[in-house]
């Protein structure tokens, strides 16, 4: 039971942590195809 609870805690921490890290690294899968940062406006 303790191993199971610890695993759930690790799962939550890892999920939140990786999401935070990827967000901070500026990574977004959605922006690969639809970001206006990728478009040159004006010249």
């Amino acid at each position: 039971m303790k191993a199971f609870i610890t695993a759930i805690v690790a799962l939550v921490v890892l999920a939140a942590g990786m999401n935070f890290a990827l967000d901070n690294a500026g990574f977004s899968a959605a922006e690969q195809t639809s970001s206006d940062r990728n478009v040159r406006l004006g010249d």
Partner: protein, 400 residues
């Protein structure tokens, strides 16, 4: 909006190229350019015959097009059909896009429709069928065989089977896999199954949360996979006891159990299925999570061509040039198909670990199993543990 912002400049640029190309054409008006549809083609397709579309045919050479005056299209006397055929075949050498995304220059993509139909159709149908059949098989097995009991009753003495860290690794991969399976199925089948039940609003909230979970819980699965691999590979290398175990059908029916070490041949199969399929799901998942970063299918198809595999199967040389979108589509299909297979394997695993066998769950629950259970299912391992420990851990009477 964003799509329009991308498309409009591109179409604008490209139509200039098309205009100038169409102006200096000459030749016999009665001859169709390669790739151009004839009335015959259209009629045949309506009869259900398999007539290739323009993009699958060779492209017209420059100057091969019929004279401009034979067409009266939207551009007046010149038609842009050739141009659109080129766009469709992704064969515009001069295309430029202001969007810098990896797939920005592919305007039309024939493979997209096939993929979408396959994803909504056969993938969902056969995938759910596989899971359904597995559940039914487990139920039938339960009805025929019943629960596999500890034949000679509990010894009342336990020995340690899995350490804390092993159980932690197991529950990490198990809880993440179950979350991933549920949220993955929601994103595959939700549109068809859940929207009619809950409506668009509620499903949207649920699907967005599910996507967050699916994307971020994947890391726990990968960590669990690595842990399980490192901790248990030594116990899962095939050896001679496996042959005997398989020949005796694991002793599933009838009396008596073939001897086994820590893991029997059936468990080894589960282990390798988890490792191989789990790795494949992880890699294709990473390529979906970081779109257009990993190119896996084009080199694989090219390698298969070089090795002569499709030729051997009578498929000829397969087309190994994929658009970036096609790469992603194949990654999605692969990810889903392999996941369905692993889900089926895991359904069987969960059955045997809980309902199917008395005394099994404790191995992953407390970590300690009854000595008699161990002797029946893992005799060689049980003897080793007893020999090493001198005597079993708990509940034992002093020897003297």
């Amino acid at each position: 909006m964003t799509l329009l912002r991308v498309l409009l400049p591109l179409i604008f640029l490209v139509s200039f190229a098309g205009l100038s190309a169409a102006q200096d054409t000459s030749g016999d008006a009665s001859v169709l350019t390669p790739g151009q549809q004839s009335l015959e083609d259209i009629m045949a397709r309506q009869r259900g015959e398999d007539v290739p579309f323009g993009a699958e045919l060779p492209l017209p050479l420059e100057g091969d097009a019929p004279p401009a005056e034979s067409h009266l299209g939207p551009l007046g006397a010149s038609s842009d059909a050739d141009l659109w055929r080129e766009i469709r075949a992704d064969a515009l050498p001069d295309a430029r896009a202001s969007n810098r995304g990896p797939a920005a220059k592919v305007l039309m993509q024939d493979g997209g429709m096939w993929w979408l139909n396959f994803r909504h159709g056969p993938l969902l149908t056969y995938g759910s069928l596989l899971l359904g059949v597995t559940v039914v098989l487990m139920a039938i097995f339960y009805l025929i065989r019943g629960r596999i009991r500890i034949e000679h009753g509990r010894a009342g003495i336990t020995i340690e089977r899995f350490k804390f860290i092993e159980r932690f690794g197991h529950w990490l991969i198990a809880s993440s896999f179950i979350l991933l399976a549920i949220t993955g199925l929601v994103s595959l089948a939700g549109r068809k199954l859940l929207i009619p039940l809950f409506g668009h609003e509620a499903f949207s909230t649920f699907a967005i949360a599910g996507k967050w979970v699916h994307n971020n819980v994947s890391w726990a699965f990968m960590l669990g996979l690595v842990m399980v691999f490192v901790m248990w590979i030594v116990h899962n290398l095939p050896d001679r006891t496996d042959i005997n175990w398989i020949l005796k059908g694991g002793g599933i029916f009838g009396k008596g159990h073939p001897p086994a070490k820590k893991f029997n041949a059936g468990q080894k199969l589960i282990f390798w299925a988890v490792i191989i399929l789990g790795t494949s799901i992880s890699v294709s998942g990473i390529s979906l999570l970081f779109p257009f970063e990993l190119t896996m299918f084009e080199p694989t198809l090219a390698l298969l061509n070089d090795m002569g595999v499709p030729q051997l199967l009578g498929l000829g040389t397969i087309d190994a040039t994929l658009t970036p979108q096609e790469e992603m589509q194949y990654a999605q299909l692969w990810h889903a198909v392999i996941s369905f297979v692993l889900m089926a394997v895991i359904i069987a695993h969960i059955y045997i670990g809980t309902l199917g066998m008395e005394g099994a769950f404790e191995a992953m629950g407390s970590g300690d199993v009854d000595l008699e259970w161990a002797r029946e299912h893992h005799s060689i391992w049980a003897d080793e543990v007893v020999a090493k420990q001198g005597k079993p851990a708990s509940g034992t009477q002093p020897a003297e």
